[in-house]
Amino acid sequence: MNLKTMTAATFLCLGAAAATGVAVAQEPQAARQQMMKDVGRSMGALAGIAKGEKPYDAEVVRVSLATISEVSKTFPDQFPAGSETGAETEASPKIWENPDDFHAKAAQLGKDVDATLAALPGDQAAVAAAIGPIGKNCGACHETYRIKK
């Protein structure tokens, strides 16, 4: 094997690895699970401030709310046909039975969180008052559309 062939083979392998890597990252089950983890982390950051465990930080509040807002808009499109099972998904079959209601629930979350973003909570008490109504959306959707494994 000469140097040229070896180099070509190496690049081919790298290319294949990269292609596989991209495929894994784009797997909808993994993508939507990551989105929910991001929302959980954001809710945690907001709740830490609300409970007084962390000092009020306007930037943390803004970024957390923006993350939840972004997820609410892209999340319901992470359930294409063929992603009903696999990767330990906790998605309920009802997502594919009632897609309109599923999208409506995500839209409601987006509406609630965007209203909060527009008038950014200015102190601990305001954060505490805001996360209750936002948090209700989590349970409202998980009640029907998530199956706990």
Binding site: M43, H142, K148
Partner: protein, 303 residues
């Protein structure tokens, strides 16, 4: 000839035994004087007991919210390995509901699983948990239910295949599984843990979903609160809420109380499935009751 006589004797003895067993396990009413002297129901406490028991989760129309949760017209079908149950109308309507029931009749249904006509009730109605409730709580709940709206809806009959359609067989089930003894015996309890034990084992009937069942549908109490398959079949698992493997051993008592109040786990995952309705009910209780439940869950044996 001898063999024939023996066979006949066995048959007669068997029939007599079956008859005696059915007689022994026949539905038994409480003594009529056991419900006297309780006084006027405390409606406020009755409302709390209503939340503890989550009556609306099964008896209100599916998806009912706000004021409609208080119309106990009969709820969504409840699937089980034995067939499909239709929760009845328990509104205050005197004909379709239980508006004409006496306190004794209501108490016998709650604590003994005996219906108004003296029939055995199916344990999909969790009287095997409610059997631990105090007469005072029963009286207060009875009073509260009478303040709720009436509905003339008649729920369809249960859809149960033979032999589960035979109610007298439930006498044997009760013989095996109905008692008012504590589910677990705890050392070093205090008033808080005992209150939690009452709420979880009695009106809250948490073990009905969080504990696995035997083939006959009784609770496998050796695995008390250790998690179980979804009792309605299908996908999913009801989580282990002891400190055992896969359980909530790394949650503090404060985490548990906070989850029951807000619906968020310590890492800000949220409540889901049928627990959403339960959590909303728990959020209506006084904080001390959620703390008592937490203290009890930290005290039960790990599975």
């Amino acid at each position: 000839m001898k063999l024939r006589r023996l066979a006949a004797a066995v048959l007669v003895a068997g029939a007599a035994g079956l008859g005696a067993f059915t007689w022994i396990t026949a539905p038994a009413r409480s003594a009529s004087d056991s419900w006297q002297g309780l006084g006027e129901p405390d409606i406020g406490n009755g409302e709390r007991v209503f939340s503890e028991g989550g009556c609306a989760s099964c008896h209100a129309a599916p998806g009912a919210t706000d004021a409609n949760r208080l119309i106990l017209a009969g709820g969504a079908p409840l699937k089980s390995p034995f067939g499909t149950f239709h929760p009845p109308n328990i509104s205050s309507d005197p004909k379709a509901g239980i508006g004409a029931w006496s306190l004794q009749e209501f108490g016998d249904a709650m604590l003994r699983g005996v219906g108004r006509s003296g029939e055995h009730l199916y344990p999909a109605f969790p009287y095997a948990s409610y059997a631990r409730m105090t007469p005072r709580d029963i009286n207060d709940l009875y009073g509260y239910l009478r303040t709720l709206p009436s509905s003339d809806n008649v729920a369809p009959p249960h859809e149960l295949p033979f032999p589960f359609s035979l109610r007298p067989l439930l006498g044997a089930w009760k013989f095996l599984y109905l008692n008012d003894a504590p589910r677990v015996v705890l050392a070093n309890t205090d008033a808080k843990i005992e209150r939690g034990q009452y709420l979880v084992e009695g009106p809250g009937h948490c073990g009905e979903c969080h504990t696995p069942r035997t083939a006959l549908g009784g609770l496998e109490t050796a695995q008390w609160l250790g998690g179980a398959p979804n009792p309605e079949g299908g996908q999913g698992r009801v989580p282990n809420i002891t400190s055992g493997e896969g359980g909530i051993g790394d949650w503090s008592a404060g985490d548990i109380a906070s989850y029951l109040e807000t619906g968020f786990t310590p890492d800000y995952d949220s409540v889901g499935g049928t627990m959403v309705a339960v959590q909303k009910n728990m959020a209506r209780l006084p904080a001390a009751d959620r703390e008592a439940i937490a203290a009890y869950l930290k005290a039960v044996p790990a599975h």
